[in-house]
């Protein structure tokens, strides 16, 4: 059974091609199967954000391609690409993930609204998700009334809502204290275990890296190390 959700081939991203070229990514191959819980680490400027943007369809590679669940997204443009992101990729950013004027419930519902899901289904799923991220009692609160950790949980719930192929999170804990960061990681790990949701996240934080089952190390736009614990054979290529 083919469990591949993501296949990135020879990704290169060159900035300032005409002056002094910067290779933000320099030939990255990445293969992710369903159910992975993968951390991408590396020093500042090593290309983590660039790689996540590339596999999230937010940036185009100078060379190479990204294939998600059988679709070559590198060839998608405009609204097709936006629609693909909407239905296939969950995003959690470092901060300011949420629409400040909408409540937690509305923020989660918003993405399903973009998908034009029927009201009953939306209501049902929002309820489920709020419970899963442990914020059932905060449904009516606006982002400004939530702590940083709670906001990130809402963001995870929203990313989960459309049942994407995988969730991308660029330094999701960078703005959190260590307790909140730990809690967020616990929750993500639980979703990964119980729902088999695939997570790919970048981080600087050693404690976060310790929770990952596969750790990819980037340096100067290249993968220099890729570890997968032997116990998780389905993460092995």
């Amino acid at each position: 059974m083919n469990n591949t959700v993501l296949d990135a081939h020879n990704l290169k991203r060159v900035y300032d091609e005409n002056t002094i070229p910067v290779y933000a990514l320099n030939g990255v191959h990445l293969h992710i199967v369903r159910g992975e819980f993968t951390a991408i680490k590396g020093p500042s400027g090593s290309g983590k954000t660039t790689l996540l943007n590339m596999i999230g369809g937010l940036d185009e590679p100078t060379e190479g391609y990204v294939n998600i669940n059988g679709t070559n997204i590198t060839q998608l443009k405009g609204n097709k690409l936006i629609n693909f992101r909407l239905n296939n990729i969950g995003f959690v950013f470092q901060s300011f993930n949420l629409i400040p004027v909408l409540t937690a419930k509305e923020n989660i519902e918003f993405i399903m609204l973009l998908q034009k899901r029927p009201k009953a289904e939306r209501e049902q799923r929002v309820k489920e998700l709020l419970k899963e991220v442990g914020l059932a009692d905060k449904a009516g609160k606006k982002p400004g009334e939530l702590s940083g950790g709670q906001q990130q949980r809402v963001a995870v719930a929203r990313a989960l809502a459309p049942k994407p192929q995988f969730i991308l999170a660029d330094e999701p804990t960078a703005n959190l204290d260590s307790v909140s960061a730990g809690n967020l990681l616990d929750m993500m790990a639980k979703l990964n275990r119980e729902e088999n949701m695939t997570f790919i996240f970048s981080t600087h934080d050693q404690r976060v890296i310790d929770r990952a089952r596969r750790v990819i190390t980037l340096e100067d736009g290249k993968i220099v190390n890729d570890t997968a614990p032997a116990s998780l054979d389905h993460t092995l290529i």
Binding site: L58, N79, I99, L102, E109, L113, L114
Partner: protein, 404 residues
């Protein structure tokens, strides 16, 4: 949800939204007041001008206006007039016979225009009775005249004196007669004040051997706005042997003069709207700059740019619409008040106005089309400005927008 989002976004920066709304409100208020006063003053001016003498519309025999002689007169057809005066838009139809002749008292002789008219209908049309400064108004069929003040002065005559009239009647008949002066009338316009002489219609027709003939039928109408429509109607009802002219055609110089005066108002409102446009644009510019990251985030998670752009357009329109509605609501009582209680100026300017026969009044016109047009202009401006965020979002690159 879109509506909810739009509405809540509006109040993210309540102060800025209120300032923008208030500026729109003031612009609409100012524009409406200005336009209403401009129109009110203009209408009043026209009302004054047409009540000097001409009326809003005149019917003549075709060709009379180009060659104003008695032989170009037409038969006073009762059935036709009855039919016309049943039109509820027509306030009064004043039949007149007009001709130039010589008037003399003692040794002095002056040229003047004799106006034979129906005393009651003339008064309804031009308020002639109120222009009497000495003596009294004439009655229906008395053999007497009213004489304009300037002409009386030049002939050195006063009430109860006798005036001798000499001229040519219908089809070259001789017209000569002696009439007592019943009253002296004052006209603001020097041209009228120096040359008019009034006589009851039947007397004048008899004097000119032109029984039942008219040179013009002056039409008083209830609503000046409908003048052109009524003119068209009369034209079709009267038929080809007649010409139907409105006051602008009768007095082209005055019409041109009043029109030219209106343009400065338009320039002023234009500048006003320009200022408002920049005000709204400034707000939108700040808003899009501040929310750049959020726009990037929304497009990243899967919101179509057009949907996002629409929300921003709605925000712009909504701010403006609220401002416009408030402006309308505030301006309405002002307009109504000043239409019923016109601004009245006093002092020298007022005297100058009155000397020329104008009321020194500045009323506001109550005109729905002013309210609608001004509101629409502002909304169209807002719509055009609202296209900017649409364009801005259209070009957004989520990755770059979210970069710190």
């Amino acid at each position: 949800m879109i509506a909810k989002l739009t509405w809540r976004n509006l109040w993210r920066n309540p102060r800025r939204t209120l300032i923008t709304m208030t500026s729109v409100t003031f612009a609409v208020l100012l524009a409406i007041l200005m336009q209403s006063f401009q129109k009110g003053v203009f209408d009043n001016l026209v009302k004054n001008v047409v009540s000097f003498y001409h009326g809003y519309i005149q019917v003549h025999k075709k060709g009379y206006w180009d060659e104003q002689v008695l032989d170009n007169s037409f038969q006073y057809d009762d059935s036709l007039v009855m039919k016309l005066s049943r039109n509820p838009e027509i306030k009064v139809l004043t039949p007149r016979i007009e001709t130039f002749l010589l008037a003399s008292v003692g040794n002095s002789t002056k040229g003047c225009m004799l106006v034979g008219t129906d005393p009651v209908k003339e008064n309804l049309l031009t308020g002639l009775k109120d222009k009497i400064v000495k003596g009294r108004y004439f009655t229906d069929n008395e053999a007497a005249v009213l004489i304009a003040e300037g002409l009386a002065g030049r002939l050195k005559l006063t009430v109860q004196d006798t005036i001798i009239l000499l001229g040519q009647g219908y089809h070259g008949a001789m017209a000569a007669g002696k009439y007592p002066v019943r009253g002296i009338i004052h006209f603001g316009s020097p041209a009228l004040n120096d040359g008019l002489l009034y006589m009851p219609l039947a007397q004048a027709q008899f004097f000119l051997s032109a029984e039942n003939m008219l040179t013009s039928l002056a039409v008083g109408i209830r609503e000046p706005e409908k003048m052109t429509a009524i003119q068209q109607l009369l034209l079709s009802e009267m038929g080809k042997e007649y010409e139907v002219m409105n006051w602008k055609e009768l007095m082209p110089d005055i019409a041109n003069h009043i029109k030219a005066d209106g343009s400065s108002f338009y320039i002023f409102t234009g500048v006003l709207y320009l200022i408002i446009a920049f005000g709204i644009f400034g707000t939108i510019l700040m808003m899009t700059a501040e929310r750049r990251y959020e726009f990037g985030m929304l497009v990243a998670i899967g919101m179509k740019k057009l949907s996002l752009g629409k929300i921003l357009l709605f925000e712009t329109l909504l701010i403006t619409l609220l401002g416009v509605i408030t402006g309308l609501l505030i301006s309405l009582p002002f307009v109504l008040y000043f239409s019923r209680n016109p601004l009245r100026i006093t002092g020298e300017i007022a005297e100058a106005y009155e000397r020329f026969g104008f009321e020194a009044l500045f009323p506001a016109a109550v005109d729905n089309s002013i309210l609608i047009v001004q509101s629409l202009i502002v909304l169209i401006i807002a719509f055009l400005i609202g296209l900017y965020p649409l364009w801005h979002v259209g070009r957004i690159n989520p990755m770059l927008a979210m970069k710190k």
